[in-house]
Symmetry: C2
Subunit: 299 residues, 2 copies
């Protein structure tokens, strides 16, 4: 099954998502223009679009096409981007570079960066509930999808994980707490992305259950690889300084278990992710290839 | 029509909203507990609950009862509280006191305060889309209400207004820009509150149109009185220092036109607000009394 051309697939999907983001990105002249500029700056900073691609691939895996799902794909990317803007703030991770460019607060100042994050998060819900855009999905399904995504993005998911991550900085951490951080900070939104893709694509309960399991495994792989790249990665490829986790005494998998053990965990999780897709046919090939890609990525 | 006992009404409504907030306030032990504590600290800091009360009064005015609407009332208060937490941050208004108590970031630190705001904003959408709580409103109506509220809270509403407010600090401002700030920063969410109340309460299109007009007038009154109180108010009653707007060179109505002219505008807006309610019967008495109350408040 090595015939699937992931590189072309990713390029095609990214172009579709970028075009949709561009189309629906809010813009208004007037006294509040800088917040629109800041949102655009961060949203169009050349992200990999992993979450919206995974979301669409979840729908594809259960046989749905993606027409009508793009507002959700864009909303998920808005939520991800808001989290990056707020994470980069001086009071949080205090990062100056993101994707090779100055972070939002470096360009627009802290106040506008905070507001741009707030604006993107809120705009995600505008997009998901915009009935003109999501016409042919039932209101019940839209509501349930928004519910899943809001839970994954909030205190029981991403916000909770980021809180634990920030608070554990510089402190000794056990594997249980590290697992909590990874599952919440990174796993929850990736899981919710593929789950809502399968759900809005009208997958069966069992299909959605397997997609959820796949999503969490993928999220954990993603985070561990991120941590490994912070130790071993290439600064130019990464677009940010290497070793910043260690400098901030961040809780990471390689810091706790070493890089070799971290790589073993990744292999285990990859097998786990692929096993969740066993009952799916070739339409799940993008999800299978994405898992491979996340393991092998160098940026 | 002076028989309506607003004081008792407000006390009763506040108790109902406070009980609902307490019941649905998220709480979780574990590594992310501080963000839950910070959300609770700010949400239960003794707010006046103006927005959720206005929301419920909008539903009451069109003859609906409030059963099933409380998740929305709580969500609106979560959105309002998140905006206060973020507004108070050092990078924004840099306020140490709110409702007579230290602001969220003073107690929990900036990082957790940012995350508590993010958490409350996201939780508002969890509450509004929680199908176990909002069982008997149609999914179509819930979706449309969430759409209205997200738009009013986001860059086309509150976030946009706050951006303009922050950016105009210390700069000369014209009345058009001041009007933009007031309508977006304060007016939009108050308007959306009473509008969605009327909408979810199944008001007619004309009723909802009048409630919207009422809501914007009320929002503008609210903001102008706020600005007047910052000039003339009592520090003990207000729970925060007086004169802080002038110290920060904030754009305010009294600063631009003087206190007398500001009071004239309030009278004009009050008449305007009351005229929107002319076609409503005695069930709109709370809304009429609320407008009076907002004009006469001293804190």
């Amino acid at each position: 099954m090595k015939t699937f051309d992931l590189k072309s697939y990713l390029k095609k999907q990214r172009a579709i998502i970028d075009a949709a983001l561009k189309k629906w990105l809010p813009m208004e002249d007037g006294p509040s223009k800088p917040v629109f500029d800041a949102m655009q700056y961060s949203l169009m900073a050349g992200g990999k679009r992993v979450r919206p691609i995974i979301f669409l691939a979840g729908a594809e895996a259960v046989g749905a096409d993606m027409a009508g799902l793009l507002p959700f794909a864009c909303a998920i990317e808005c939520i991800h981007t808001y989290s990056l803007i707020h994470d980069d703030l001086p009071a949080m991770d205090n990062d100056d570079l993101r994707r090779g460019r100055p972070t939002c607060h470096k360009v627009f100042g802290e106040a506008v960066a905070i507001l741009a994050g707030d604006g993107l998060l809120t705009y995600a819900f505008e997009l998901m509930t915009n009935q003109a855009l999501i016409g042919h999905i039932s209101s019940e399904s839209v509501l349930r999808a928004v519910s899943i995504i809001s839970k994954a993005a909030g205190v029981f998911g991403m916000v909770g994980g980021q809180t634990a991550d920030i608070l554990m900085e510089g402190r000794d951490i056990d594997s249980k707490t590290l697992d909590f951080i990874h599952r919440h900070k990174t796993g929850a939104l990736i899981q919710a992305s593929v789950e809502t893709g399968g759900f809005l694509g009208k997958g069966t309960q069992e299909e959605i259950r397997q997609l959820k399991r796949y999503g969490m495994a993928l999220g954990l792989i993603f985070q561990i690889i991120d941590d490994i790249l912070d130790v071993e990665g290439d600064k130019t490829l990464m677009g940010k300084p290497i070793g910043s986790d260690a400098k901030k005494k961040k809780a990471t998998y390689p810091a706790l278990f070493g890089v070799d053990e971290a790589r073993h965990s990744v292999v285990f999780l990859l097998n786990n992710a692929l096993s969740c897709l066993e009952a799916f046919d070739e339409k799940a090939e993008p999800l299978r290839a994405m898992a491979q890609y996340v393991v092998e990525r160098d940026r």
